[in-house]
Symmetry: C2
Subunit: 323 residues, 2 copies
């Protein structure tokens, strides 16, 4: 039988998502299990094997129908060895064998990459990237991550730090970052970053604002609250969102002048503000990007949501075609 | 006979350089002719054909010894059509047929790319890039150009503006650029850019300095003068060079966090200041680059000088291997 399916796994600290896809990226089946990080995360790999084998048995699917398995994981990935380390939210501090046991346990070829790269591949393949060979993906969540596809290939770089978009410096005198530098994009455009901006702005703002009042009161304020208030016309929140959009647009402009991608796709929880956010980012992108880039590279919103991970992960397994 | 040679052409506004190379990048022969840009540059293509045919006859070289011809050119390149336009220093404003007539006139396959990309390929192949799959090249001359090789492939982007490193914004409130934006890298790190920085600094500097005195006198001051004075300990010039190094190091850091290349290679006339310049740029690179990038990507000086063009151009023709 000719293999006509691929399996994608999106491994996270809370859940492990699985998908069975066609070779053209259609999700035929998906399911998830909780991530058991107890005992140094030693249950994770066996749980993955058991869950896939159970599912294939359940639906009477034969191994020969599958090209292989692709997976996205947190942490630092050794692609050629199919190992992961420094994935602290999985309790995998030291090097963890992943590829060999899963490949043997399921009986299919296996390939992995890091979670941001895999999400980028997903959005590029069947999402906002429209399968263009040059796409940049930025995910705005607890942190800011990214993945770059240039000439159809993921950019890993010499030590796997290609696409570390969250650590592009956008303000040399900016906030301290967890990485030890100052003014990284992550310090101002992550979920906590925009709140950090709001706290700074609150020190100087003198008008009325529910968000400023909440901050001054010591109430918890989230990125969602700030975007919601801005959309409702709160001037203080609008000024915070404008600064957020400046930083992101500035970074997008320089990514554009470097890579001239077909699109820069913005995803992650913070991007839920949607078109309201996108057009503000685009305004600053247009201001700082080189003219040819401004006229050819597009700022887009991600469209796949949480499915980007399983879809992009599965796409890794397309490399087993013809093997 | 198995083809064992390639031809590289570096087309410039003043001269056309030619090289005959082995498939491993050794230059076996090189020569040049003046560029005749008269009559809308209509002599350029025939001159190239005539010069190559003359040389091959002179040395009794058979066409079958060659894989093909690669060329670097100014202007906007259409790679698939092998045409060039907007190469104003060649008087090629409108679309110019290049590949078809040269391929037919010499009787060999032909491929072209823009001059900065081709120089990047040269430095990457047998120069400072040490044939790594991920290398960034920045050339500091009258303008600032660049070329990016990621996963072994030149980054062109969707409209050919990939690698427009000179138009990365390094100072949102900076000098106006010829491109219409503000604070592009080119405005402060080209040969004229560093003089522009010196003029600005001269307005506020109050100590003794031969360079400040020359600027205040209205004498002509070049980038070479400024670097020379800085190396001799002139405090004013040192402060100008330090700002220059900050801008270049900042741009390199963000290129590093984006691409994590094995090396960022700095070439072009302004880089003649050598190690004195490189180590200052590296200091700022180390300050702003993500830690993994700082520990893996290297800041290097170009080593091929003017030969980068013919070598990189010739390397384009390697794609005809096996065709």
């Amino acid at each position: 039988m000719t293999a006509s399916k691929i399996i994608g796994i999106d491994l996270g600290g809370t859940s492990i998502k699985f998908g069975i896809l066609t070779l053209t990226g259609e999700v035929q089946d998906k399911w998830s299990i909780p991530t058991n990080i107890l005992e140094d995360g030693k249950h994770i790999v066996p749980d993955i094997i058991q869950s896939i084998n159970h599912r294939l048995n359940l639906y009477n699917l034969d191994k020969s129908e599958f090209l292989g398995i692709g997976m996205g994981t947190p942490g630092s990935v050794n692609i050629s060895e199919s190992t992961v380390k420094a994935a602290f939210n999985l309790n995998w501090a030291d090097t963890q064998e992943v590829g060999k046991p899963i490949s043997e346990g399921v009986g299919l070829p296996f390939i992995l990459d890091n979670d941001a790269n895999v999400a980028a591949l997903g959005e590029r393949w069947v999402g906002a990237g429209e399968n263009n060979p040059d796409v940049v993906f930025i995910t705005l969540g607890t942190g800011v991550g990214g993945g770059i596809i240039a000439s159809g290939e993921l950019v890993h770089g010499i030590a796997g730090a290609g696409g570390e978009i969250g650590h592009i410096c956008v303000d040399p005198d900016g906030f301290e970052c967890t990485c030890g530098n100052r003014g990284c994009l992550e310090t101002v455009t992550s979920a906590t970053g925009i709140v950090r901006l709001a706290r700074k702005f609150a020190e100087e703002y003198e008008g009325d604002s529910t968000i400023k009042a909440a901050i001054d009161n010591g109430d918890e304020v989230t990125s969602k609250d700030i975007f919601f208030a801005a959309q409702e016309g709160d001037h203080f929140s609008l000024s915070v969102v404008d600064k957020f959009a400046y930083y992101l647009g500035f970074a997008c402009a320089n990514l554009g002048s470097t890579l001239n991608p077909a699109s820069i796709v913005i995803g992650g929880g913070v991007s839920a503000a949607g078109e309201f956010l996108r057009e503000k980012v685009e305004t600053y992108f247009n201001k700082y990007a080189f003219s040819t880039v401004r006229n050819s590279s597009k700022i887009k919103l991600a469209v796949l949501g949480n499915d980007a991970g399983i879809i992009g992960a599965a796409s890794l397994a397309l490399k087993f075609k013809g093997e």
